[in-house]
């Protein structure tokens, strides 16, 4: 009887419960924990997600701000009455206001009084101005219901007929230009976002493939010990989905923190000239629920993209392992 046979026959008896218990511990995952390539992939995903989310946030901000400008300007119209020898300006203003207020779709019509007009001109003409002694046009502000706009053509005709030197400016030119500008800005932003997302997708794909390249020997061993392709793919997919989620979440959270930081800064510096300028351009820097939902969607898309790339890479590796590796045994 050989030594190995004796060993074989005595094995059962020699197996102590302690020996069995000794290995009853959590097994290492088949795909090893992160290595340098894996960490680099997580970092690349985090950075690209951060940049994509910033781009998305910026586009959301510009779109919302442009919409706000457009709405604010579209909510008002102005009646201007130029001074003239013998014109009773006060009566003309009151008449113009009454005509405007009579139209349906007009919420309010108010005369900009002499003090308010003087304040408007203060930056150019200085303080202590006697507005009555100067040939300054006077204004009536007409507030409009944007949902049901008045008949501006009829209002303009009536004003010109009834009130001397009165002109109605419904801001149509400005609104049209702003709409065009806002659309262009949003289109440019969306194009930049599309490019950014494409770059992110490609970077994620290359980073994932790079990280996977170091695991080729594991795929081969699993393949040669009889693991089926779906099993091997699922092991790697799960691992890289988690890694991708980790990186994407870090990037997304970083971007959200940046927006919260800007919002906090603009709130703290309200009423300063710099903040007024920034607020005039970008509102209050809040990206709103749609922005946060977009950031969440980008994080999920990038994590799924990482997992999908892993899946495809594993299957493609397995497809080639049996034919293109002359030294694979």
């Amino acid at each position: 009887m050989t030594e190995t046979t004796r060993l074989l026959k005595n094995l059962g008896a020699r197996l102590s419960s302690s020996a069995r218990g000794a290995v009853a511990r959590k097994q290492m995952p088949i795909v090893p924990p992160d290595n340098v390539a894996g960490r680099a992939m997580v970092l690349v995903i985090a950075i690209m997600t951060f940049l994509s989310c910033l781009t998305l946030g910026a586009v959301t901000l510009v779109r919302d701000t442009a919409a706000t400008w457009q709405t604010q300007i579209a909510r008002e119209a102005t009646i201007q009455i130029k001074p003239e020898e013998g014109l009773d300006m006060a009566a003309a203003l009151t008449r113009a206001r009454d005509i405007a207020a009579g139209y349906s779709g007009v919420i309010d019509a108010s005369v900009v009084d002499a003090q308010a007009t003087a304040r408007l001109l203060e930056p150019w003409l200085g303080t202590g101005l006697d507005i009555e002694s100067l040939p300054v046009p006077r204004l009536v502000i007409v507030t409009i219901d944007p949902m049901s706009r008045p008949d501006f053509a009829a209002m303009r005709a009536e004003l010109e007929e009834t009130v001397a030197n009165a002109t109605l400016d419904d801001h149509r030119t400005w609104v049209d230009r702003l709409v065009a500008m806002a659309r262009t800005t949003v289109t440019i932003g969306m194009s930049a976002l599309a490019l950014m997302l494409s770059a992110t997708a490609l970077t994620v794909i290359f980073a994932t493939r790079g990280a996977m390249a170091g695991n080729g020997h594991i795929i081969e061993v699993l393949h040669f010990v009889g693991a089926e392709a779906p099993f091997i793919a699922s092991q790697f997919r799960r691992h890289f989905l988690l890694a991708g989620m980790k990186g994407a979440a870090a990037g997304g959270i970083g971007a959200i923190l940046v927006f919260i930081g800007f919002y906090w800064w603009s709130s703290r510096n309200m009423a300063t000239p710099e903040a007024d300028q920034a607020t005039a351009l970008f509102g209050n820097f809040a990206i709103g629920p749609s922005g946060y939902i977009g950031v969440g969607a980008i994080v999920i898309v990038i994590a799924v993209l990482t997992a999908a790339t892993t899946h495809v890479t594993v299957l493609s590796y397995l497809k080639n392992v049996d034919s293109t590796h002359p030294d694979s045994m």
Partner: protein, 238 residues
């Protein structure tokens, strides 16, 4: 116990032996290169033991890859477990491979898994619960003399220990055939003899064994069939 049951379940040696693998006029070339194997014909019966030898570059590894279904022949017919190789689909391959144990020349152990986990890998990838195979793996590790090294990572193991771990991994599913590529190439003569005894014992329990080797000394220790590759052609000495 798995290993004792395995020997009982298989028919005695005196019974008719079935063919496990058959090659008929098989040739293989890589791409547009020269033919590595030419008109190779042989059969491997169940429970047989043979050496595959020949000079470097003679095509031993290519032949082993064909046996392992890691390559398709460019011509000829290969029948594996009664199935025509050319008709085996990609999804059938893993299931058929479970009947073939392979010991790679470079071991192919996963460095982040312990010896125990490496040996248990073929069972783990089939989705089996660890509790169902733990005892068998420990038993096999003890059988190959690695009972005390089961929690050690491969980089800590010696060449001989790695070799035995690789053999144990190939055996854990009781394959019908074991292919070993230079299994004694990295060990001293004493350990080489010990590994050979292990393979002979395995063969005695019913597994067909093919050992690819250059080692004439190793072949001289056993009176077994020799398959010698030279210039792409195969000579068989029974």
């Amino acid at each position: 116990m798995v290993w004792q049951n395995a020997s009982r379940q298989r028919p005695p040696l005196t019974e008719r032996r079935f063919l496990v693998i058959r090659f008929e006029n098989v040739g293989h070339r890589y791409g547009m290169g020269p033919e590595i194997l030419r008109d190779v014909s042989f059969h491997l019966p169940e429970r047989s033991f043979q050496f595959l030898s020949g000079p470097s570059g003679a095509g031993k590894t290519t032949l082993l890859r064909l046996l392992f279904m890691s390559l398709k022949p460019t011509r000829g017919l290969i029948t594996i477990f009664g199935k025509d190789r050319s008709k085996i689909t990609r999804t059938e391959l893993p299931l058929l491979r479970r009947n073939i144990g392979v010991v790679f020349q470079d071991f192919r152990l996963l460095d982040h898994l312990t010896t125990y986990e490496n040996v248990a890998l073929p069972l783990r990838v089939r989705g089996r619960e660890e509790s169902t195979y733990r005892g068998d793996v420990i038993e096999l590790l003890k059988w190959v003399g690695l009972g005390e090294r089961m929690h050690v990572l491969p980089p800590i193991l010696s060449g001989g220990e790695k070799q035995r771990a690789a053999i144990a991994r190939a055996l854990i599913e009781q394959p019908r055939i074991l292919l070993a590529d230079e299994p004694t190439g990295n060990v001293d003569p004493q350990l080489a003899r010990r590994l050979l005894r292990l393979l002979l014992e395995l063969n005695r329990l019913g597994t067909a064994v093919v050992i690819a080797t250059h080692d004439l000394g190793l072949m001289d220790q056993v009176d077994a069939r020799r398959m010698v590759l030279s210039g792409g052609r195969l000579e068989i000495y029974d």
